[in-house]
Amino acid sequence: MRHSLIMGRIAAVVAALAATPALAQDAPKIDGADTAFMIVATALVLMMTLPGLALFYSGMVRKKNVLATMAQSLIATAIVSLLWIGVAYSLTFSGDGAYIGDAARVMLKGVGMDTVSPLATTIPEILFMAYQMTFAVITCALVGGSVAERMKFSAFILFCVVWLFIVYVPSAHWVWGGGFLQKMGLLDFAGGTVVHINAGIAGLVCALVLGNRVGFGRENLSPFDLSLAVVGTGLLWVGWFGFNGGSALGANSRAVFAIVATHLAACAGALVWSGLEWLQRGKPSVLGVISGAVAGLGTITPASGYVLPWQGVVIGLIAGAVCYWFCTVAKHKFRYDDTLDVFGVHGVGGIMGTLLAGVFATRAVTASESTPGVAGLLEGDPHQLVVQAIGVGVTVVWCVIGTLITLKIVSLFATLRVNSDDEREGLDIALHGEALHQ
């Protein structure tokens, strides 16, 4: 996305100069193919949350919490979408402040039929806004996986409202909206820092603040129906083509390269995770296959538009092994209850992927008509890896601080966690008055 954004900024300058009639022909022009592709990509990314993440998550919780877990994905979509259109989009993608955008696009002010964002010059601005909206939606919905089976619905709603503005909006502005990390040259094609590190770290912080589930480590907390999680993974996997491919912001070769690398990373991650299980446990579990696939998908995300397809395989292999260790060994060793392994899969994957983008960035892939491209460590330039490490560090630190502040604010208005009786009864009945029946 970064190079497209740089090209977009150049185009914006050209557009600004187009005040004179002689230059009017250089104004950005909406492209039909790009627009069609980005409409599909937007739908694919929304499909990742509804129904992809809803199914993926709800299949891994106990039967008494299935509806409550789906409710988190649903409400995150509803509330974040409205906030995005109202204020968040403007603060993220309008203006060129180093730390935060401006209010020029509040309530979509100034967005007309022919308006084009300087960040994506060949599609209608409202489409760029909607596409970015789906990223904000899924990031907030992802966090819910860490606190599934114990966070109050009211608290989760407030969490989405506050966390969006304290963590997501600034972070997305720094990396994609012209902020200081983008100016520093951070490579994050489709959201290794903005989406996955933020969701994973926030999930871990929330899980630690709320505490472990009743019976964690002692009682049977096994999944209700892994077949739902498999279907959800399939929807996420396919939706990721819109997530990573769409981050090229146009129907072009970079989009296709990103999609192919994404698919290969998912395949490699699935194979490694289940292979390690086979070696260690004697049986490859279905949950292992889908966990490895999602780990591969999350890890390739920041690098997907900058690397060669075969490097996607390498990234997927690393993702499968490292995320496997975090989810099956580290989590139990340190006894934190990240319910659905949001940190172990997305947080760890996002950190690795962002760093690996600095290793595998390939000049020939990152180059565009207006920029020479970026070489990673593998092409002999260690500088980009340093930039990536700074990006990871800044994102992690701010996400920890911002999430703690968010939880403090939310706790002033709502109890974060259900009481233990409600937790034992199940959140479906306790919070929603509904239940799955035979």
Partner: protein, 112 residues
């Protein structure tokens, strides 16, 4: 009269029913139950978390039968439910004092 209760593996239900029908047992009741014996359940592993599943799904069948058929029925159930693996189940035989068909009022052997 005897009441024969048998705990069997769920996938053996059809074989047991067929053989009892052939023997002349006119009816049976089957229930989905959960339990454990010497097998002590099994272990499931999810992302490294191990859970002991003590109560395994089983089928409990109940057959009321005349005294003269009891031994044959017990043996037939044993053969039909046998796999040789741990967890094949158990058969219990208890004396049955009375039986009554609700529709006709017939009692004991006539009611079976």
């Amino acid at each position: 009269m005897k009441l024969i209760s048998a705990i069997i593996k769920p996938f053996k239900l059809d074989e047991v029913r067929d053989i009892l029908t052939a023997l002349g047992a006119h009816g049976m009741t089957a229930s989905e139950v959960k339990g454990y014996g010497r097998q002590k359940g099994h272990t499931e592993i999810y992302r490294g978390a191990e859970y002991m599943i003590s109560f395994l799904p089983k089928i409990k069948i109940e057959v009321a039968i005349t005294d003269d058929l009891a031994d044959q029925v017990v043996e037939a159930i044993r053969k039909a439910a046998y796999t040789g693996q741990i967890g094949d189940g158990k058969i219990f035989v208890t004396p049955l004092e009375r039986a009554l068909r609700i529709r006709t009022g017939e009692t004991d052997d006539d009611a079976l």
